[in-house]
């Protein structure tokens, strides 16, 4: 074995064996591709996927934990100019807050009313499991996915809605015990049912799969006669039993409306509320009464 190795390195041996290996490996890769592409949901590779995931997932988690301080440290390296900018913003905010203090009693009254409203909203609200994004799929794989640090042990299953403070993030496509893979709504293969908030018209939002902060969604309305107005916001209209998307989660705002002469329909371009380049804490919508190793946030309380 070692003799053969030595000879190949010195380059005296003709390239035949290496070509044979290439042929075999290409064949193997094509077999894997065919197996996975043909069988779809019950692919024989899914058990392998989850096995690899249960090894690599915790690895990603640990690496994230270790590197988090360094990532946070980039905040220290800021220029004098940006610090000056911060001072200006903060003093502006300060004076605004002083003004607000003067009208505080009125606000308190309002707050009490709002509080009642939220309580009702919470009754019909969703239960969430909080998680952090620990890894991002490279864009050169031409898909937009992230890994979060909560999995089946926290009660997370495939086809659950993922959101954050700003709006809809995506849905869970695959889980391991301690991690889950989330397909972002800006991915090309993502389709979300959406509703225009002003006229309740429904349509389908497809991800464009574009890069960075230019990530946009295309909204095809079911009724072609309706013209979406600019800056109208879009929310999810939800599917049966909230799988994969629950209803009423804000998605984005109509940025522009494009009508193509070729198709008679109009397509609205939606700018998502969520900044997909800076995802950190997200919430996964779980059924009520979910028990796991992680706190479930529901009805405004942590249980």
């Amino acid at each position: 074995m070692q003799r053969r190795f030595g000879r190949r390195i010195s380059g005296q041996r003709p390239a035949d064996p290496s070509r044979r290996v290439l042929g075999l490996l290409v064949l193997a890769a094509l077999t894997v591709i065919t197996l996975d592409a043909r069988t779809g949901a019950d692919s024989p590779l899914n058990p392998v996927r989850s096995a690899v995931g249960s090894v690599v997932g915790p690895l990603e988690d640990v690496t994230n934990e270790v590197t988090q301080p360094f990532a946070d440290a980039t905040g220290f390296l800021r220029t004098n100019k940006s610090l000056r900018g911060d001072i200006a913003t903060l003093s502006a905010e300060n004076s605004r807050l002083r003004g607000e203090m003067a009208t505080e009693p009125l606000d308190r009254q309002r707050l009490a009313e709002l509080d009642g409203l939220t309580r009702t909203a919470n009754e019909t609200g969703y239960s969430l499991v909080a998680a952090r994004v620990i890894a991002m799929g490279p864009v050169q794989s031409f898909s937009r996915t992230v890994t979060i640090d909560a999995g089946t042990s926290s009660g997370i299953k495939a086809d659950m809605t993922v959101l954050n403070n700003d709006g809809l993030v995506g849905r869970v496509v695959r889980t391991t015990r301690s991690t889950a893979t989330v397909l972002l709504i800006i991915d090309r293969s993502s389709v979300v049912g959406g509703r225009l908030s002003t006229n309740m018209e429904i349509g389908f939002l497809r991800g464009r799969g574009t890069l960075g902060d230019r990530g946009r969604l295309d909204l095809d309305l079911v009724d072609n006669a309706v013209e979406p107005s600019r800056d109208d916001s879009v929310v999810t209209w939800g599917s049966k039993n909230g799988v994969p998307y629950v209803a009423g989660i804000p998605i984005g705002r109509v940025e522009s409306v494009v009508s193509t002469p070729r198709q008679s329909s109009r397509v609205a371009v939606i700018k998502p509320f969520v900044d997909f380049t800076a995802l950190d804490v997200v919430g996964v919508v779980v059924p009520k009464g979910t028990h796991g190793n992680r706190a479930v946030i529901s009805q405004g309380a942590v249980r």
Binding site: Q2, V21, I33, D36, A37, G53, Q140, T145, A180
Partner: protein, 171 residues
């Protein structure tokens, strides 16, 4: 000894893949990160030739296809990296002698690898993007790999030499 070497290589591949999804996401350019697995395969081709690199490319590619958060048809990166490893091994004689050539080889391999991956996606109808976006992704990823190559190639060559079989014993 062989088991030790393959274990060391596996750790190296795992680290490359985890680093590019976890650490580099903080400094990604529009979500594009350096393809460390691909750089590793090219360096393996320079150090040990096409057969070794093709096998390593298959393993690294398959792991890239299966490890979370990947969600494309499995085997696509494996196919791309097998071909990249083989081709890089064929032209490695130039790259062995000059570091400049090694960097150029990484750039060319990055272009071929990402293009092959995009092409297999187009054939399978899996995650196809608009052509201008695809080209942008390929260009950014080539630039990333070119930028990191001068640092990573010597480091990885040194590491691969550490896990190399006892060649000196053969004279």
């Amino acid at each position: 000894m062989t088991a030790m070497r393959s274990a060391a290589l596996t750790v190296l591949v795992c680290f490359a893949i985890v680093a590019q999804t976890v650490i580099f996401r903080f400094i990604s350019v529009d979500g594009v990160v350096p393809n460390l697995a691909l750089i590793l395969v090219v360096v393996a081709a320079i150090a040990r030739g096409s057969q070794f690199a093709a096998v390593l490319g298959f393993g690294a590619g398959l792991l890239l296809d299966l490890a979370p958060p990947a969600d494309h048809i499995a085997g696509r990166w494996a196919l791309a990296l097998v071909i990249v490893g083989y081709l890089a091994g064929r032209v490695r004689q130039d790259a062995r002698t000059s570091p400049m050539m090694a960097v150029v080889l990484v750039g060319a391999a990055s272009f071929i690898g990402t293009s092959l991956f995009a092409l297999s996606g187009a054939v399978l109808g899996d995650g196809t993007w608009a052509i201008d976006e695809t080209i942008r992704v390929i260009v950014i990823s080539v630039l990333w790999d070119l930028m990191l190559a001068p640092f990573l190639v010597p480091l990885l060559l040194w590491l691969l030499d550490r896990v190399r079989p006892a060649r000196l014993a053969l004279g």
